[in-house]
Symmetry: C2
Subunit: 128 residues, 2 copies
């Protein structure tokens, strides 16, 4: 099991996932589009993340270039499992119903989800 990133680690991972390998300066600029953060704050978190192996860095040039060490799906899975256990007591269908029920999903989303369910049902039929 991969470890659970903190809130601000997650913010930075999102930026790296979206915009690819970046320097601290570039990440900090992106962060400051959303909220005010000091440069050394961002640097520090990224150094900590490197220690934790949440990212890797290329120190060839003066400005180190950081890359995420985890795929979005890995972190999403870890985080969702955590919520499933701690908030939903492991009741997966309740979680899904909450996710679908509160805000109406778009027609497009609905299609995707139905397709997935059908695929899962085929797999289940195969077993039965």
């Amino acid at each position: 099991m991969t470890l659970k990133p903190t809130e601000s680690e997650l913010e930075i991972l999102q930026i790296l996932w979206e915009f690819g390998p970046l320097t601290v300066r570039q990440v900090n600029d992106r962060l400051n589009e959303q909220r005010r953060v000091g440069y050394t704050t961002t640097l520090k978190i990224m150094q900590i993340m490197t220690d934790k192996e949440l990212m890797t860095r290329d120190t060839e040039n003066r400005s180190h270039v950081y890359s995420p060490a985890l795929q979005p799906a890995e972190v999403q899975s870890t985080m969702l499992d955590h919520v499933l256990r701690t908030v939903f007591k492991g009741d997966r269908s309740n979680l899904v119903m909450q996710a679908l029920g509160n805000h109406a999903a778009s027609v497009e989303e609905m299609k995707e989800i139905k397709a997935l369910i059908e695929k899962l049902e085929e797999k289940q039929d195969g077993v039965l």
Copy 2:
């Protein structure tokens, strides 16, 4: 929007949801079935939760009796929305797919979810 409980606040809410209004002693006993926690630790968290209005208490008797101030579904919704935003960038169908895809849902769960989707589709058809 209701506020996001901390991890240990969540533990206590789960116990109250399951076993109804309880004293600190009763909550602490339940907690200690899972892990070792001191009595005053539990007391303190429950006092903080009362200040935050995550729970209410009846101080009539010497042993105060605490009740949750939020329904499970309210907290689940808050927490899930938070994960949706911070981990999934608001992509609801991706969240649902992660939830369904990683571990095969049981036949029973599948039925529930399909029924919900059909109900939501009817609502959508009505609008179109």
